[in-house]
Assembly symmetry: C2
Homo-oligomer: 90 residues x 2
C-alpha cells in the first residue's frame, strides 16, 4: 500500500495493465532513466505487487493479481462497514 506513494510507480503499474513489460519498454514509454526505473521496480517487487520473468537479456515484469485483490477487499470492508454511526469523545 505504501508503495503506491510515488506517481511514477503508479504510472509503471498502469503500463503493466495490459501485460508484461520490460525495463526498456518503460524507458521508451516514460522517458525515465534506466536506474530510476529499476529503483521503482525494486520497490514494487519488494512489495509483492509484481513478478519478474527473465528471458535472455530481458526481464519481463507483470502485475500480481492477489495483492490488488486484497486491497480491494480492504477497501470494501472499510466502506461497507462504515454506517456513519457516531462515536463520541468521552
Amino acid at each position: 500500500m505504501v508503495s503506491f506513494s510515488d506517481p511514477f510507480r503508479l504510472e509503471i503499474i498502469d503500463l503493466m495493465m495490459d501485460g508484461e513489460v520490460c525495463v526498456c519498454d518503460i524507458m521508451k514509454l516514460t522517458k525515465l532513466s534506466q536506474s530510476r526505473i529499476s529503483y521503482h521496480i525494486k520497490i514494487l517487487k519488494e512489495a509483492g505487487l509484481i513478478s519478474d520473468r527473465q528471458e535472455g537479456r530481458w526481464v519481463y515484469y507483470s502485475l500480481n493479481k492477489e495483492p490488488f485483490f486484497l486491497i480491494k477487499e480492504w477497501i470494501t470492508s472499510l466502506t461497507d462497514y462504515s454506517s456513519n454511526r457516531k462515536r463520541c469523545c468521552e
Copy 2:
C-alpha cells in the same frame, strides 16, 4: 492514492471504518500527538478521502466512499484487463 503512503494514515483510515471519529479519539487510540494527527488528517482531507463535520468544539471525521470506490474500479481495470499478453521490446 499517494496519500496512502504513510502507515499512520492507514491506521487513521482504519479507525474511521466504523464511523466518525474526532482527533481526540485518534489520540486516545493511537498515542500520536495532536499536531501529528492534524497533519495527517489534513493530507487525507486534501486528498478528498475524508470529510469533516464540526460539532461544538469537536470536529468529526469520516471516510468518503466515492474515492475508495474509484480506487477499487482502478484496481479492477488493472487486474481484469491484464491478460498476460506479451509485449516486446522492439
